[in-house]
Amino acid sequence: TVGAVALDKHGNLAAGTSTGGMTNKKFGRIGDSPIIGAGTYADNKACAISATGHGEYFIRAAVAHDICARVLYQGVSLQAAADAVIFDKLKNMGGDGGIVGMSPQGDPVFSFNTPGMYRGYIDKSGSVFTGIY
């Protein structure tokens, strides 16, 4: 699964996710990637999120929307909201994976409860980061 989140000069956030799904999947199984609110969500007032991981759990936990909702209604930071969902809510359900997020201020956020996640950003100062573990 791959995903991206971005903030443009007009202050608009966007999120996108694309995937081949799960190896050996049957019966037309779909994970969270194409589910708005689970694998992908964007709201200028809160955040943009793209997720990757065990899709069944990300759908049940409505991960992408839940993170944005916590920012919007609890007033917590995007990193705090993401960590609460990825390390508490999702982990307690037995789900693993991660998210990439972008705040309305242009701050990139990563949160993942797995040993690795291919990831990267170019932040508002133009500095580039890529990571694997």
Binding site: A4, L13, A15, S18, T19, N24, R119
Partner: protein, 175 residues
């Protein structure tokens, strides 16, 4: 507003022993290439929606990631692709699932968002819509990569053995 872009290429147990320094360098290079593809759109005043698509196309076209070329195989040794996209200004969104011949699924999700009254299309219907939108189609073999073929072959062999061994070996359970 400031501009910024961030990506992921999948999460999981990425074992260092599986990644030689050369392969690791390939991943870093492809991640950076995809970031720059989107960032230059943002720098020239383009929209975050366009930047997202430019970035994800680079990753879909790379065999390194489970999306587009390099996607994992289903039980029937096909590649079924899904994608979604959403813009934060209007909360408009587009999504597709289960396509097997559309080269860049993220472009189709974006077309569903902007050119249809729907949010999500699936399977053959989504591919009919893709044809109407003149998106690029490829043969299903385009998505195949040796690494993923080996992965599914190993799994199917295990599954076959599991059926034989299942009564005695409870570890062989597949959801």
């Amino acid at each position: 507003s400031p501009i910024a872009i961030a990506i992921h290429g999948g999460a999981g147990t990425i074992l260092k022993k599986n990644l030689t320094p050369e392969i690791e360098a390939q991943y870093h290079a492809k991640l950076e290439e995809s970031l720059r593809a989107g960032y230059q759109i943002l720098e020239s005043g383009g929209s975050s929606i366009d930047a997202i698509q430019a970035t994800i196309i680079v990753l879909e076209n790379s065999p390194l990631f489970n999306a587009g070329k390099g996607a994992v195989f289903t039980h029937h040794k096909t590649n079924e692709l899904d994608a979604s996209i959403m813009e934060g200004k209007t909360l408009n969104a587009g999504a597709i699932s289960g396509v097997t011949r559309v080269k860049n699924p993220i472009l189709l999700a974006a077309k569903v968002m902007t050119e249809s009254k729907h949010v999500m299309l699936s399977g053959e219907g989504a591919e009919t819509f893709a044809k109407q939108q003149q998106l690029e189609f490829v043969a299903p073999e385009y998505f195949h990569t040796p690494r993923r073929l080996k992965q599914i072959d190993n799994l199917l062999t295990k599954e076959k053995n599991a059926r034989i061994e299942a009564p005695t070996n409870p570890n062989f359970k597949y959801g």
